[in-house]
Symmetry: C2
Subunit: 347 residues, 2 copies
């Protein structure tokens, strides 16, 4: 499996590893998806976790101070939490400075640039440490042409943010590879880029170039090659739908997999907005996606059942399969349903 082909995609940067994962002072697991993603998909390169007083979320990795982590070989602290607006919280500053003083670089996927914080900048300069922002898009993005590209493409789409689009894409890419298929995982967000080592941070691209960036991310490839593209946001999200539509148009997917979290009733961070149904989400993505790929189809559903125990999850997957007439799987449980979803993607 080639998880990336660095020559195709602008590499954000070569990142110093292994990592110490930083959880800030977060009390909401949905905001720590970067840390969870790194634990699950780059666990061999994560030495431990660290957080401020007040944090209640944990990845389950060993808790280490920056000094302890550095002694065990860590080379960078990765900010593993996000928040609305993507700003670096003032309350994190003492921890970040401690990391620099302990000899770690800092890697961030936030909107705010690390170097814009004078305190960090001066300590980093004094200590000879790097402040690395993986959300800076490549400079050479062009306007989308809409031209159909060769090769096959799958895009994970969602009913909301932060419910498994990246996990689903990683799991599908891994499953495709296990079947001997030539596949690339294409990262579109900070965590995916941290995991993959390349990609384009789609939400940081200037709006006019959004679909063009998506075209650049999955270039022409051999006819039997698959790009499995990490989705972003949701067409139903009051803040991020434009990102989702640009990514859908530019990716021109042959196949979509709809990602959903069955216990979620309202959009994360936007409680005035209900989560759309799976059927609505399929329909709207197909209506809009047909504009750049008339052959687009939905292969199935990826249900995030992490809040359910195993029996309840299995029951729900079976019920949803019967109701929707499409494969429904939770890739994190990696069962027979998931193989059926992989079959449907490749059909």
């Amino acid at each position: 499996m080639t998880m990336n082909r660095a020559q195709d995609v602008p590499v954000a940067t070569t990142l110093p590893q292994p990592y110490l994962l930083f959880l800030g002072d977060t009390t909401e697991a949905a905001f720590a998806k970067t840390a969870f993603g790194l634990r699950d998909w780059a666990g061999d390169r994560c030495i431990g976790e660290w957080s401020c007083a007040g944090a209640t979320v944990t990845t389950g990795l060993t808790r280490l101070t920056p000094k302890e982590a550095r002694a065990r070989g860590a080379r960078a602290l990765v900010i593993g939490v996000a928040n609305l607006g993507g700003v670096i919280s003032e309350s994190w500053m003492p921890s970040l400075i401690e990391a620099l003083e302990s000899g770690l670089d800092i890697i961030s996927g936030m909107h705010t640039k690390l170097g814009d914080a004078p305190a960090l900048k001066s300590v980093a300069e004094r200590r000879g440490r790097r402040l690395i922002d993986v959300r800076t898009p490549p400079p050479n993005i062009t306007i989308a042409s809409g031209r159909k590209r060769s090769g096959k493409r799958l895009l994970t789409v969602g009913t909301d943010c932060a419910l498994g689009k990246k996990y689903s894409a990683l799991a599908l890419a891994r499953a495709f590879a296990a079947r001997g298929i030539d596949v690339d995982f294409r990262a579109t967000g900070q965590t995916g880029i941290l995991i993959a080592g390349s990609g384009i941070p789609m939400d940081a691209v200037v709006a006019d170039f959004e679909a063009g960036a998506a075209e650049m991310l999955s270039p022409d490839s051999p006819a039997q090659h698959w790009d499995v593209i990490e989705g972003q946001g949701s067409l139903f999200h009051p803040a991020y739908a434009g990102v989702s539509l640009g990514l859908l148009h530019g990716s021109q997917p042959d196949v979509i997999v709809v990602c959903h979290e069955p216990n979620r009733t309202h959009m994360v961070g936007h409680s005035g907005y209900s989560v759309p149904s799976i059927e609505e989400t399929i329909e709207l993505n197909l209506i809009l996606g047909r504009r750049t790929n008339p052959a687009i189809r939905c292969a199935g559903i990826s249900l995030n059942t992490s809040l359910l125990e195993a029996g309840a999850a299995a029951d729900l997957l079976a019920r949803e399969y019967a109701r929707l007439g499409l494969p429904v799987a939770d890739p994190m449980r990696g069962d027979g349903e998931f193989e059926r979803l992989v079959d449907a993607c490749l059909a």
Copy 2:
């Protein structure tokens, strides 16, 4: 009529006027919409036009060299043409340098920044002239909240780019004001900003903040106040649909007016893509717009009949009115149909 309320909206900059309009070497009228817009809506502040050898498009204004224009009082040359990708053409450089040498500032709405051209930068510095980019968004945009705002909003939407969304919004704002209504024209593109003197260049905003910028552009206002918002792109455009969706969601319009050019069969600059029907465009905008304003409705159609003679245009407006059951008008012809469209917007 208050065309803007500068205290509400970040002003790009205070622009030096009057203008000399520069048409580059363009041979396609659709690319010169900035120059036409300034002629029609800020004509009292346009001294003349200028272009390179090979240009075939004209605004009909007096042709003047930069030196002649300066002698007649012009203070800036405005780049009145656009092209795919928004780059400043190398072939324009001698003309732009001549303008600076003649004592004019240069104002640009292109993606490429004027100051990024070393030749322009050095001449401007030597001559003490300004290079002004109106496409730089304000720095303080936040993520959209999705919160319903007070006051009324109208958004012009389109079947394609460059067919009259700005003209229609300006004409509607002017007509609302003529009826004694408290109204603001809200500019979202470079020409609108040049005309209005404030606004946000929506296609230059980072994608994650697109809907947030639209929320900022039309803030809370008195219950009977109208914002008439200039649309951008088209939900059917393979490159720009994400911009259109972010603007639609963030504007949360009560009323849309669909803009269309009846002679156009394919999208400008994307000949592989057909122009959608008016009905499809109404339907998709209402489906997506309902997400942030369930009361959204389509008041009618603005047809750009500039390629038709008067009799054929009148016939077409009548036929489309009968076919669609909605007011259909060409605001540039300013006839009874247009007053009917205004009635429907305010109904």
